[in-house]
């Protein structure tokens, strides 16, 4: 299904330098205390220190597809020579998409684009600006060597070596990197690169993936998170308490790889102007403020409730149980008052008093129903340790169910990150097909 290639650090940077002619190559760059994805030149890449190139970015690579600010439409009006009161107005929509390689993001970053694809590309209306960039971009993702303290991809269906959303996934091994080509787009990018075959390194790659997964903190039991978070909507005391420290600065939303919100504003004049799209944040009071002065979300607690509920309840409700969170932890790290979405979600779930009608515990193994779609990977037994530690009950129940329900190797892979159960917990079987559809993209 996928081919494995080996590259030394020099070969990898040389390859990137080569790609920089003909592509915009975005890679992490240290800028003061921040690490951000920036276009890099062939010279920079050729001489780059590989470790510097592989730093964990403090800002998500969202702007590869969604620039912080972009022109949607330009307008120009010309006055009629005979009758200056008459105008002829011409509009143009500059949809730009230069061939791009997004290098060095993490699996959570790549999954972030899958989350954005659903509202931007899979609804009744397609966003052509996002779509053009998405199409023109090849995503070369770095499997995480180990978990950071704020990482929680395992809560939301990801793993430190998840392939979802990536075209190539590379893993550090002794002496270099193993590149796993995941998609045809990825294949096109390594065509002619001259990398050696690395099928013999599969075990080493698996071991690295397993070690990274084991370094994650175990995920809590979060079944029915969608319903439970929704059930806290009217519990204003809860949201007030959780939001006391919030400054409404919006850092969490701007750094988030899955936050999709934007505003549209005009600048210039009718004679010569443009309509812009800029990132916006649901954490600011003006976001929903109406002209009349009425605001459906006047308090910061209302806004936090919307943000957390959107990620763990509204979005899943709209999109087959998928979360609008990939567990990258940037909002946790960068919050100036140390608010932690993990804590909020967990507290919301634990304090929920709703009755889940359909047999809750038996539902956990529903993850197994999804197993066939899991991209096949050889089992990594040791990965199961954190899984079982995290959620002993579901994991134990899941184990015997697996072989019956799914192709064994896939199931074994799937069982590793216990919290994948979260992914399917809110819904049952029908979701599987949707998920496989989403994964094929």
């Amino acid at each position: 299904m996928s081919s494995l290639l080996f590259a030394t650090p020099k070969e990898l940077t040389g390859w990137l330098a080569g790609l920089a002619s003909g592509h915009r190559v975005l890679a992490p760059r240290q800028e003061g205390p921040s690490v951000v994805f920036r276009p890099r030149t062939a010279e920079e890449l050729a001489s780059a220190d590989i470790d510097a190139l592989l730093r964990r970015a403090t800002a998500s690579p969202k702007q590869a597809m969604l620039p912080q600010c972009e022109t949607l439409v330009t307008f120009k009006s010309v006055k009629d020579a005979e009758d200056p009161s008459k105008l002829t107005t011409t509009l143009e929509a500059p949809i730009e998409a230069e061939p791009t390689v997004l290098f060095g993001g993490r699996p959570c970053d790549a999954r972030g684009f899958v989350v954005l694809d659903r509202p931007y590309l899979e609804g009744k209306f397609k966003d052509p600006y996002y779509g053009a960039r998405r199409e023109a971009t090849t995503i070369v993702t770095q499997a995480c060597p180990s978990a950071f303290y704020s990482c929680f991809c395992n809560w939301v269906g990801g793993t430190p070596s998840d392939r979802e959303g990536s075209d190539i996934l590379f893993t550090a091994v002794e002496g270099g990197f193993v590149l796993e080509v995941v998609t045809e787009k990825g294949q096109a990018l390594v065509e002619g690169a001259g990398f050696a075959d690395a099928s013999d390194k599969a075990a080493e790659v698996e071991a690295a993936h397993a070690a990274a997964a084991a370094s994650l903190n175990p995920a809590p039991e979060l079944s029915h998170v969608m319903e439970k978070v929704a059930s806290r909507f009217t519990d204003t005391a809860f949201w007030d308490k959780e939001t006391v420290k919030c400054l409404s600065c919006g850092a969490c939303t701007y750094l988030c790889p899955t936050c999709q919100c934007f505003t549209i504003t005009d600048e210039g004049s009718q004679l010569d102007g443009r309509r812009l799209r800029s990132w916006d944040s649901c954490m600011t009071p003006l976001f929903t403020m109406e002209t009349s002065g009425h605001n459906p979300r006047p308090s910061k607690a209302d806004r936090m409730r919307n943000r957390v509920s959107h990620k763990f309840s509204f979005y899943p409700e709209r999109y087959n149980g998928f979360f609008s969170c990939v567990g990258c932890g940037r909002c946790v790290v960068s919050c100036p008052v140390s608010l932690d979405i993990r804590h909020m979600v967990q507290a919301a779930v634990e304090g929920a008093t709703i009755e889940i009608k359909d047999e809750a515990p038996a539902k956990a193994p529903a993850a197994v129903a999804e197993a066939p779609e899991a991209k096949v990977r050889e089992a990594a037994p040791e990965v199961k340790v954190p899984a079982e530690a995290a959620a002993p009950e579901p994991a134990v129940e899941a184990a015997p169910a697996e072989p019956a329900e799914a192709a064994a190797p896939a199931a074994a892979e799937k069982a590793a990150p216990a919290p994948k159960a979260q992914k399917s917990a809110p819904k049952t079987a029908p979701k599987s097909s949707t998920r496989s559809k989403a994964k094929k993209r």
């Binding site: 009161s85 509009l91 929509a93 009744k124 209306f125 052509p128 934007f262 505003t263 005009d266 309840s313």
Partner: protein, 283 residues
Amino acid sequence: MSEHDCGCSKNPYLPEVATVLEVITESPTIKSFRVRFDNEEAWNSFTFQPGQVGQLSVFGVGESTFVINTPPSCKDYIQFSVMRAGEVTTAIHKLQPGDKVGVRAPLGNYFPYEQWKGKNIVFVGGGIGMAPIRTIMLHVMEHASEYGRLSLLYGARSPEDMAYKADLPGWLESDVLHTTLTIDREAPNWPHRVGMIPNVLKELAPSPDNTIAVLCGPPIMIKFTLAAFREMGFKDENIITTLERRMKCGIGICGRCNLGGKYVCLDGPVFSQAQLNELPPEM
């Protein structure tokens, strides 16, 4: 809802350039604008359903969302009624015939009139809320034989606040529509009712049997009119209303107008009260 060609495959952010054909001053704060796309091909292929909205823009100022309040049968223009309130609506109010605007339409869902065939319909409009009522009411009146008894209760603060004055005589004399007009307080030479909409509605006492209630207006009017309908025995699934929220994209992406997992711009603006009961109380 039913399939139709809405041009979804086009760039949904790119407006059609349209020309203002006529400006009607409806009240001290409300004007209606009749516009038509400049591109003949786009205009000829343009269709919409009653209740759908459009993003009307003044280039260089911005866009705002308004319901198209003409019925789909009107092929000469589409009409938006705009209450002056903020930056964009103030700029719109300055428009003159011949001026250029941008229109992105149709957006959103529409009144489920296919399900109302054979039923009585009570329309209740309050203030600028008469705009969405106008489109569906005119549409239904054109096909009156397919429905039962049609009635309208339209209320405004004062006679001068009442919009669509040009339509009122026709509605009052119509054979297919039973019209009641009301204002909040006594005014000289006002021959119609005086009183708040919910109170007048209770006096009219429409029967809930086989009847759909369609109400649009300011939140406070909705609140009490809804209570009045429920008191009279109307079921929530037969009470239809439209919602308003701050909107930008109009296509369910920019994240502003959600009510729980629903976007008012995409899944609305038309909802039954039964549907609203299922959504988080965040009005």
